[in-house]
Symmetry: C2
């Protein structure tokens, strides 16, 4: 379909729930109040690492107003974790705490104050153990074991893959660079803190309302944790006030609320404080990276070898996936015929890390894009031109066997290069500032560029891998309304709206005529969750399938009535008819009545399962996606050589969205991603002192405000991908990725300082300037990599360069 | 299927929502509280009949705390009514009030007290008109017109039908009786008063939660009344705390709440007071009846001629249907080869009458069954034996073209005759008491018998007649849970539970594994509503169809996996397997996972449309039902000849339920019907003084308590009807019907007084005894019938006696 064929798609429509957000009627989990509700609090460990020798809750239980106090002894002795391979958490720790913030007991009381006071009356006997607070410390102290499982002492996961002969590639290169980078951890910082309300009812059933991105996964886990049948549990995702990956795990407060409700017979709410969220968050992994890449004189990449060390914190969470992700996506962007990846995730006594917007990929993206900038300089190439030259080819497989369909990255680069005046600025300012190391200190301007790719939905599920990943049940009723039931969780990205737009487009009605009921394991068919940029594509395809089935039945009834061919019918303006006999068209309501009278209830299911494209090697299932989005970014900034402060002026970002189903929503996602990328590049870092977070509040943890946000110029590139709904690909995560390296590259362009670590602080820049003044290499960043033996690399034949014939392309049948 | 084939059906299981009722967690409409909610009150007319000359709301609007005051001028000038032929109501009257209680204005305020105070500040200029407070008065004063429409002055509906030559039948009879009866109006008296909460949101949509039995009909009407698209309105039936037909109409308070919400931007709740419910109720029609029946010596009915005059009150409501119903069901019980019916509904200045349990049929049932008792006496027959002799034949058509399938009435009569010791008591006591007119006054015992029939669901709908009447969407998920979406409203009868039992039976799981989401026009497919005893049959058949489709898909997947034939699979104990290889059976959860992986989302719709059996004459669509239930009742009582007081001792009631899906629920319905029949027979009457209800409170309006309720002995007769779900027919209304005539007949048996009017008061009995002492006819009741010319009777050939070959019997395919 071409753009002019659409009536809803491509329009800058308001979100269907915008009004509720604007007038404050959206009910987040913490806005739920049920009669007789009790309020819960968790008692959390003040130790980073300690054995639990005793827990005495007797004084807490005696406090008036306390309904129940529980410890791990009140739950089945099962460990859990979002990934089947990392079942290492207890909702309430029984033997050991591994981080400050680990929960050891929970209280339900008449109000939060009483619950809090009761927590303080609980006496826990701890035997402190040494804390391991960094990758290096964790690897250096195998005698101190945080967990008893994993791929080595304090090593959660150790993975090594080699696609082709990387050493041979380096030997045949004109230039080989080795660089070391560090990307500090940071947190999602959603406006809404985690909260849950559990209600166990006398019929033995249980409902959990939670600010979760994955109600169906939580539903999958609770039966085992609570020892009751899944069929008797209902999980409802309340509207999520920002997730960014921080609400993807099952959490202690959810489980404690459930158990407390079962014990008290009351609904129980537990809302986490902002401080608690800084501990439970599952944020961005700190990653130390070593990257070695070979180039030809022309800038082509001959091969790449990447090592990543992830600081996983105290638990597994999604960490195995994160580890793979650090090594998987870079080859999707550029031709990289030979590729080797070694990754290790270590346990430390810090809050566990997991998925955050871009899950595992901003870190290696930072490394690659900064290294490309360095290589281009060495090769005397314009880094924009160099990138444009080495782009991956559409409809091919990458070295690591990922199937790529459309690639709009070339156009993305063109757009930001054009709009930013890159050529003039990059060439012109370079000689005037970065090159002019002897010029007097001042505010210097620079531009930097970077590109990136991101997946549109994980091709493999955590559970039920062979099942559809998303389902939609769609029903038309005699009022002319259409109801969509879908398990997707709107975390602010607008998935509810997309689920109204797509059926409206197919059926020729207005989004307002569509009622979307999301994210309720009892009401809605499964959707795996709002993660991995999968919802628009997967739920969207399911919705289109369901709407297509409905359209077919309606068309058949109308065709019989009008005595025309069903294929000749158009659905638009809430009517169904033959375009050149539009005066005979039935209203949509009439058409539905007619079809229902002939067919019975007009309810149709749509399902989506991604194409099976997992690489045929261990770990080959992490990374395949139906299609990939692309972004290119140019940043213009000034660096104050006196203070080291960076001022951003403009960000030009172009994003290959496939098709902008609603350009307003896409631009919102792109701008949000840019804003978050700026925070990660320049301000945000989770840092700890003996296990205690140093900035556990929104006063202390610095994140950009509108004052620190530059003008963002967004360009949407539409490649009409055959895998996506009406051609759409992802927008919610990918555009973050090029921002940190573009900033680092622009800083180098401005003042000649290479910051190989984020967040880039004024102190780092001043240190780099000082080194430069001393005539040393003006590089700031990690110097060493850990002494660590990766497992033997799994040798896999590189799939790069293969023709597209192996690629299953399934264009949308309109 | 035979009884032993079932695992759920036939078990006395608890209702799935019993826990919520017991612990008080059911949220009725008046339990809804939304943030910023305003509270509304209606200003109601104190006049029974008056012109509205002016309405001044200015002082009310100025009262602090008042958000909005509306009159009819703030609504589109459309009249509405539940039946398309009787669009005669205004939510807020603009020109005229026709009853005390007619609403003329509505207020939304910060609380109910303020709203009430504001109502008192509204000044309405009325010009009173003469009130017409009885059938006779309405017919005698054609110069006073309550409405300008109808079949004559103050005649809402006038209908006359003749099936065969009734005069010829009378001429050929051994005995012809003419009798006149009166059945006073009464009210439903549900424990829950009507309440509604409306919420108009800034996106232009509107949600109405209401204690309604017909959310889809309300949804159908609101768009026109509010002038907005149906697709933007959502009507949710809150759990209904008793309806009995009193919550079937759209009501002024619902519409006012909607408009006030639209104007204020706040949710608005209007909860009616008990006094208001006595006016808005749409209760049992007062009906005056003349009945002439011919008999052979053996007791066979040769022909019957029935005239009914209904006191309809001020508006149409369901009155056209009520009028037909008074003439339609009697021929379903007994062979009545020739039949003539004339009915008229008149308007009066009383609250409008509509459907109440048994809708339009207890009144003519009272007339017929009392007349049969008189005829049996004249013919020297045992009235039980006489009824057993003249029963209608199964699988035939009645004179008025109704298709009858199974008839368990013979067994019902046998059961109550046996259990009550009828033969001995009737013959023995007769000579000792009723016959002994000269015996001294005292407490005398008597027994009476009556039988009845009732429909199981109206075969025709009010709107969308060609469409399915009920729909179910059923979905199985990977947790092993099954979700049922159905528009049916549980009004206490247990329809939610039935919707869990039936899929559980088909799928071999437990009702607890089924999640029922009812009665929400946005979420659920259409069900016409909880009226006419239609829900168990119609929704049940749709649920079985949907469950059968799901079962089929699951069976196919399991059969492939186990390499067996799908037909050989059993579903039981939450497993699916071949009975003689049960150890290989999959769990239901495994089976669902397997089937979903192969088929996609497991969501299936089921639909039900009743067989098209409307008689081929005008009005032939009122009365046809897929099948009919039957009841027989023996009452034993004492009459105190000093005080005229009646004491009930025992009620034996047998009900042909087809199949008792849950005998506990059926017995509850039967006992509830008996209790209500007792109230109508002996206590309850809606009486008015100049338009004002004389007993508008539960203190004044007398209804039986447990103290007045005798031992009720219930017998369920199962005839396994091919039209019903697993053979089930209705239970919720039919068992009321024989109770009043059985009581009247027992009173005659005890003291020889014929009470041809209900409620039968001590005064009436004393009057009868006085007449008897004076040697006059000991009959108490109406003496005259109105001077009224019915329209020319529509001559239709009687269908009686035709063979069953024309009857479309569609047995359930398991």
């Amino acid at each position: 379909m071409t753009k002019q064929d659409f009536s809803i798609i491509g329009q800058p429509l308001p979100k269907i729930d915008a009004w509720a957000k604007v007038v404050g009627e959206t009910k987040y989990a913490d806005d739920f109040f049920l009669p007789r509700m009790a309020y819960g609090r968790l008692l959390r460990s003040p130790h980073g690492h300690a054995l639990i020798k005793s827990i005495d809750v007797s004084r807490a239980r005696e406090l008036p107003g306390v309904y129940a106090v529980i410890t791990g002894a009140d739950l089945p002795r099962v460990k859990f974790g979002i990934l089947p391979v990392s079942q290492d958490e207890e909702a309430l720790c029984t033997e050991k705490v591994r981080m400050v913030g680990d929960a050891v007991a929970a209280v339900a009381a008449v109000d939060e104050e009483t619950a809090e006071r009761a927590c303080r009356l609980i006496e826990v006997g701890y035997e402190p153990l040494p804390t391991l607070m960094s990758i290096e410390a964790a690897l250096a102290h195998p005698e101190i074991r945080i967990h008893e499982y994993g791929d080595g002492p304090n090593v959660h996961k150790n993975v090594a893959l080699q696609f082709g002969d990387v050493e041979a590639a380096f030997a045949a290169s004109d230039l080989v660079r080795e660089d070391v980078f560090f990307y500090e951890g940071n947190t999602h910082l959603p406006m809404e803190q985690h909260a849950a309300v559990a209600h166990a009812t006398p019929d033995g059933k249980l409902t959990l309302w939670s600010s979760t991105q994955t109600p169906h996964y939580v539903h999958r886990l609770l039966p085992r944790i609570l020892d009751m049948p899944a069929a008797h549990i209902r999980v409802v995702a309340a509207p999520v006030g920002g997730g960014f990956g921080g609400k993807l795990d099952p959490f202690a407060h959810e489980i404690a609320a459930c158990r407390l409700s079962q014990l008290t017979g009351r609904p129980v709410k537990i809302a986490c404080s902002r401080e608690e969220v800084f501990y439970i968050h599952r944020g961005r992994h700190p990653v130390l990276m070593w990257i070695k890449t070979g180039f030809t004189k022309a800038g082509d990449i001959t091969g790449c070898h990447l090592k990543t060390w992830l600081d996983g914190g105290a638990y597994g969470s999604y960490g195995v996936a994160s580890t793979f992700y650090t090594g998987v996506i870079n080859p999707v962007t550029y031709k990289m015929p030979v590729y080797k990846f070694e990754g290790a995730r270590v346990f430390t006594n810090k809050p566990p890390c997991g998925p955050k917007r871009g899950h595992g990929t901003p870190q290696p993206r930072f490394a690659l894009e900064c290294q490309l900038d360095k290589a281009a300089e060495q090769l005397g190439l314009d880094p924009a031109e160099m990138r444009a030259r080495i782009l991956a080819e559409p409809y091919t497989k990458t070295a690591n066997h990922l199937t790529v369909t459309t690639i709009g990255l070339g156009e993305c680069i063109d757009r930001v290069v054009e709009a930013s005046g890159w050529r003039e600025k990059w060439r012109g300012w370079r000689s005037a500032s970065a090159g002019a190391s002897t010029a007097p200190a001042g505010k210097r301007r620079g531009v930097g560029i970077a590109a990136s790719a991101y997946m549109t939905g994980a091709g493999t599920a955590i559970y039920w891998n062979s099942m559809p990943h998303s389902g939609v049940v769609l029903r038309a009723d005699r009022s002319g309304g259409v109801t969509v039931l879908c398990g997707a969780t709107d975390i602010g990205q607008g998935s509810d709206s997309i689920l109204a737009y797509l059926p409206a487009e197919v059926l020729g009605i207005e989004p307002k005529d569509v009622h979307v009921h999301p994210a309720d394991t009892s009401l809605t068919p499964v959707d795996l969750g709002s993660y991995s940029s999968r919802v628009t594509l997967m739920c969207g395809m399911a919705a289109i399938q369901a709407a297509g089935r409905l359209r077919g039945v309606i068309a058949q009834a109308v065709a019989e009535k009008l005595e025309v061919a069903a294929e000749s019918l158009a659905f638009r303006d809430r009517k169904v008819g033959v375009p050149d006999q539009w005066e005979r068209a039935l209203t949509f309501t009439q058409a539905v009545e007619l079809a229902e009278a002939r067919h019975g209830v007009l309810a149709f299911a749509g399902s989506y399962a991604p194409p099976k494209r997992a690489g045929k090697y261990k770990g080959g299932g992490v990374g395949p996606s139906p299609c990939y989005s692309y972004s290119a970014c140019v940043v213009e900034l000034s660096v104050d050589e006196e203070t080291g402060e960076v001022e951003l002026h403009d960000v030009w970002i172009a994003h290959d969205i496939g098709r902008a189903l609603n350009p307003l929503l896409v631009e919102g996602q792109v701008e949000g991603s840019v804003y978050m990328g700026i925070g990660e590049a320049l301000m945000e870092g989770q840092v700890f002192r003996k296990g205690l977070h140093k900035q556990p509040s929104m006063l202390d943890y610095k994140s950009p405000t509108t004052l620190e946000t530059p003008d963002i110029h967004t360009f949407l590139v539409e490649t009409d991908d055959p895998e996506g709904p009406f051609g759409a690909k992802e927008a919610g995560q990918g555009p973050l990725l090029p921002v940190p390296p573009a900033i680092a590259n622009a800083i180098y362009h401005a003042v000649g300082v290479r910051c190989d670590e984020v967040p880039i602080t004024p102190e780092m820049i001043l240190k780099g300037l000082e080194l430069r003044r001393k005539g040393k290499s003006a590089r700031v960043g990690p110097e060493k990599i850990p002494l660590f033996k990766f497992k033997e690399a799994l040798m896999v034949e590189s799939a790069f360069g293969r023709p597209a014939d192996a690629v299953a392309v399934r264009p949308f049948q309109s």
